[in-house]
């Protein structure tokens, strides 16, 4: 690991650890919940960055892979005596299998990766808008399957009884690991070639870069992240339904990545922190306004409206996001040399 990458990594680890310790020891359970969700979202955003930042293709399907990770891991951890009640139509083969939550989360991540590997190869031949649109269609396909495959997902109803296994330490560890992998991937041979394709498809292709294979590798890696985050999330929330993995969540994750800067790992992390804090502050305001009944009606959707306005404003002022092109470590070293 060279110097500037190390600085970037340290600059990511310090706030993660600081938030983790603050949330753990300030004594408000709600902080611990917010921080854990922040770390899980960070894994998702970093996964999306690994594909989108390096390949330049916007992917809407990311959240669906989170859903695959969540459902697959839950299938193996719901206690045996509850299974008949939660999933009455579960296939007999799956009924007696019980795994430890950690093993199940890993299985979920691998499952998401395998599904991505299968479905993504044809899609990676597409570029530009067609690629974005098909990823959007893929999100809808997966959502339709999650809502209707009641044998394993309990249909549109809530899946419950998932044991709570994700602690704040596990989530923080996962986030740090994700940051490390994302940093390495960006500078790896595949990452470099992928970025070459992003910047000039024709020139990179002429020099022998296998466009669809490169994108496929990036996509599969990003689905692994998403599946991992999904497993962690399922074992933190413990009961959920398919609507958790749809457009609203997609909007939040994309917002985090784009506000922070899709091109850089530091940007992805910064965006996750900024948007989480803004989101929680707004939600608290919305709840306070609703409970004190300042307005005669209930406010719904105010948080999303403000977030949407903030996204538009950031993109108008800085189209590349807060940290556009240069990782934090490189900026820091330049600044040190000058000073």
């Amino acid at each position: 690991m060279n110097n500037s990458k190390l600085i970037t990594f340290v600059a990511i680890v310090i706030p993660v650890l600081a938030v983790m310790l603050a949330a753990r020891f300030l004594g408000f359970p709600v902080f611990e919940r917010i921080a854990t969700l922040l770390f899980i979202n960070m894994i998702l955003v970093l996964g999306l960055q690994a594909f989108m930042g390096n390949s330049g293709i916007l992917s809407f399907a990311h959240i669906a892979f989170m859903g695959i990770g969540a459902y697959t891991s839950s299938l193996f951890t719901i206690p045996l005596q509850m299974r008949g009640m939660v999933l009455p139509d579960l296939y007999p083969v799956l009924k007696p299998i019980l795994l430890s939550p950690y093993a199940a989360i890993a299985v979920g991540a691998v499952a998401a990766m395998l599904v991505a590997a299968l479905v993504a190869y044809p899609l990676m031949r597409l570029s530009d808008a067609a690629a974005v649109i098909t990823s959007f269609a893929l999100l809808v396909v997966m959502h339709t399957i999650m809502v209707n495959w009641s044998e394993v997902t309990n249909g549109p109803r809530t899946l419950f009884g998932v044991p709570k296994a994700t602690t704040i330490y596990l989530a923080a560890g996962g986030a740090i690991l994700a940051a490390l992998v994302a940093l390495y991937f960006k500078e790896s041979r595949t990452g470099l070639l992928l970025r070459a394709v992003r910047d000039d498809e024709i020139a990179a292709g002429a020099m022998g870069a296998n466009l669809s294979l490169l994108r496929w590798k990036g996509f599969v890696l990003s689905a692994l992240f998403a599946g991992f985050a999904g497993g962690l999330w399922a074992h933190f929330i413990t009961s959920y339904q398919p609507s958790a993995f749809y457009l609203k969540e997609t909007f939040v994750i994309l917002g985090m990545l784009v506000i922070g800067g899709a091109g850089t790992v530091s940007g992805a992390v910064l965006g996750t922190f900024v948007v989480t804090f803004a989101f929680e502050a707004l939600r608290a305001t919305e709840n306070a306004l609703n409970s004190s009944s300042v307005f005669p009606w209930q406010l719904v959707g105010l948080t999303e409206i403000v977030l949407a306005l903030a996204m538009i404003a950031v993109l108008v002022l800085r189209p590349g996001g807060l940290i556009e092109a240069e990782e934090f470590g490189a900026t820091w070293r330049k600044w040190r040399r000058r000073g």
Binding site: F251, I305, M311
Partner: protein
Amino acid sequence: MAVYVQFLIDVLSLGSLYALMALGLVIVYGILKLVNFAYGELIMVAGYSLFLLGGTPLPWLVMAAIAVLMAIGAGIATEYAAFRPVRSKSVTAVLITSFAFSTLLQNAALLFISPRARTVPLPDIFSDTVVLGGATIPLRNILTIVAAAIMLAIFSFIMKKTVLGLAMRAAATKFTMARMLGIPANLVITSAFALSGLLAGVVSLFWLGRIGSVVPGIGLEPLLVAFIATVIGGMRSLQGAVVGGFLLALIVTTFNYSLPPELLKFRDAFTFSLVILILLWRPDGLIKGPATGQRT
């Protein structure tokens, strides 16, 4: 016999709506090479306009005209809010700003109107049926086909015979060159958004005629349909959008008629998988457009 007539009318009426939707998306994409994610919300805007006008004593056609005008207004507003400030800077940025604008409109509807479905006023003619070749067919399906034919005729007249249409086609082929020859970029782009609002507004009347009420999330399905139809047809060709719309309607209707009920709930998954297969065979869509697709 009856079932064939019914099938044909179903395909044509659904296809008309899909084709008009796809056309509205492609006309903007052709010029800017940018996708408008807030496109579905134009349907929502028209729907809520109808709902809000529902209590007034105006004749339905006037309400419908106002709703279409509101959709045109919303289309132009999308351009000013989400496209103009960022369109020259980054492709991804525009995708996100239009996605954000769509979320903004949806949540505004949630906040100011209601999360629950609202019934829109519809003329009686929409619930009538006619018997044709032994099949009972809702009259609104025939009306949809007629309206779509008129819209397509008007649309091709504008694109082929007027200066504005010529300018839009020139801009879609090579935007830089068109600008060098003195075509005002902002005017062309705003007109494209207005036209796409007009198409979405007309579609919304018939779309609402099918379901009868409006919810904040109503725009998703038409948006998706337009997306898929354009991808099948070829993102850069206006004819392709129409072909793609009718082809998608054919696929969906065939599934509706042939799939057993326990598989029918997975219909969307089947449809989109088929679309992926079509794209494997022809990654650029069925009909290639005029330009290279290079953004300018």
